[in-house]
Amino acid sequence: MSELPGDLQYTKEHEWLRREDDGSVTIGITDHAQSALGDLVYVELPEVGQDVELDGEMAVVESVKAASDVYAPVAGTIVAVNEGLADDPEIINSDPYGEGWIVRMKTSADGEGLMSPEEYQALLDELDA
């Protein structure tokens, strides 16, 4: 099991969130999530400018095996989506925390309830047990 990036926050639904220097947040799914889904074949992205609620369905990732909703870890407005995923959704498999990001959002939420890397690791350990 690879080490979790220390600069991210996590959700129990296996999304990650990174706070960028310009105040926006970048969101994706974790290595655990991509591995459980298997080879990704399609990503349905939201529109730029769309408002999303906390825990609202924000995107759908589909693998050869299943479709899975991606929930918004914070409320906000979509400012960018990863267009590269349209032609190459497997970027999420190969680089879930980097090139495989899904959306960028503007948010004023402080991210209450998000998990630290240590807390998320504990959740993964529990799932493995």
Binding site: G38, Y42, V60
Partner: protein, 362 residues
């Protein structure tokens, strides 16, 4: 934890991700489902199908019994080793299970039925067998491997004793033979050439190792599903069940109507339905990006709704395909409701892919 096949440790050794399948702990993939899929289309892959249920039927009236039990007619096979695919129906014509039956002699047959339906199948078969006085013997001590792909038989041949090898390589499609302790059948569930090999459980790990050493790729249930979908082979529980007749599941070709006086279970119900079909069972190709999935609604303008029974992404075609039950009628376009959006699909002939080749216009 669920039931484990004799190859469970081998799966873990090969890095399998294990899931529950009908009460069994089975490998869903060993890393990449797509790579396993391509291995079978391009070279050779091996699936552990030991969870499937093997049932031997023996007795003087075995043939009469199976002619009553099954919708296809075992009376059509007279060559030892010849196999037929058939449905086993209830009185309403609904499918209790689909299975392969191998003919040995008029008094001896082998059935291979699904794992998830094992208990109800055995109960039904035993109940129907009573009046025919035949023996119904489950062969739980046997393991089964499916070696599939254009190079599968060549790569697997060395696991067969030399004295039997040539004869095994000469088996025609849908025939089988005993080769020492092994039972070798030229059958499968992928749309590729290959064998299904039945063997004593104790031999399975050694055969598995030899296949992998020969360059055969271990493949999980995930690839098995995308391969069978491309080959348009029905999956029990998805494409048909006890409320669906073979005529509603694209399996009319497996129902033997002649001889007209053969009284198989479900016949009367099928005869009624045969007169006026209300549904078609078709292949769909999604024109847009996205993924067709089971239970999505198919909308046919002017005729009503249908439903996808199996769907997914085709790694060979690199588009999404599906099998669907739709209203009867003459049309070749429809749309599918994917999360509230109607996307265009084309109705296409099946199979989508066979023997490594795409068989539809894309």
């Amino acid at each position: 934890m669920g039931l484990k096949t004799p190859l469970h440790d081998k799966h873990l050794e090969a890095g399998a991700r294990i899931v529950d399948f009908g009460g069994w702990d089975m490998p869903v993939n060993y890393g990449s489902q797509k790579e396993e899929h391509h291995a079978v289309r391009l070279k050779a892959g091996v699936f552990d199908v030991s969870h499937m249920t093997i049932v031997d039927i023996a007795g003087d009236r075995a043939r009469d019994f199976l002619q009553h039990l099954l919708a296809n007619d075992v009376g059509r096979v007279n060559t030892p080793g010849k196999a037929i695919y058939t449905c086993m129906l209830n009185d309403d014509g609904g499918v209790i299970d689909d299975l392969i039956v191998y003919f040995f002699t008029d008094s001896s047959y082998r059935l291979v039925v699904n794992a998830a339906t094992r208990e109800k199948d055995l109960a039904w078969i035993r109940k129907q067998a009573e009046v025919f006085d035949v023996r119904v013997g489950e062969r739980a001590e046997l393991a089964m491997l499916a070696v599939q792909g254009p190079e599968a038989r060549a790569l697997a041949a060395p696991v067969i004793d030399e004295g039997w090898r040539e004869q095994a390589l000469a088996l025609k499609p849908f025939t089988a033979m005993h080769a020492g302790d092994l039972f070798v059948a030229r059958t499968g569930y992928t749309g590729e050439d290959g064998w299904e090999i039945v063997m004593p459980a104790a031999d399975a790990p050694r055969v598995w190792d030899r296949l992998l050493a020969a360059g055969v790729t271990p493949c999980g249930l995930g690839a098995r599903d995308t391969l069978r979908l491309e080959a348009a082979m029905n999956l029990y529980g998805s494409d048909m069940d006890e409320t669906i007749t073979p005529l509603e599941a694209g399996l009319g070709w497996t129902v033997a109507w002649e001889p007209a006086d053969r009284d198989f279970i479900g016949r009367a119900a099928l005869e009624r339905q045969r007169v006026e079909p209300t549904q078609r069972f078709v292949g769909l190709l999604l024109e847009d990006k996205g993924v067709l999935r089971a239970h999505q609604r198919v909308v046919v303008e002017g005729l009503g709704d249908g439903e996808i029974t199996s769907g997914g992404f085709s790694p060979t075609i690199e588009r999404s395909i599906a099998l669907a039950r739709v209203p009867a009628g003459d049309y070749d376009r429809a749309s599918v409701d994917i999360r509230g959006k109607l996307l265009d699909v084309r109705i296409v002939g099946t199979p989508f892919v066979r023997n490594g080749e795409i068989r539809i216009d894309v």
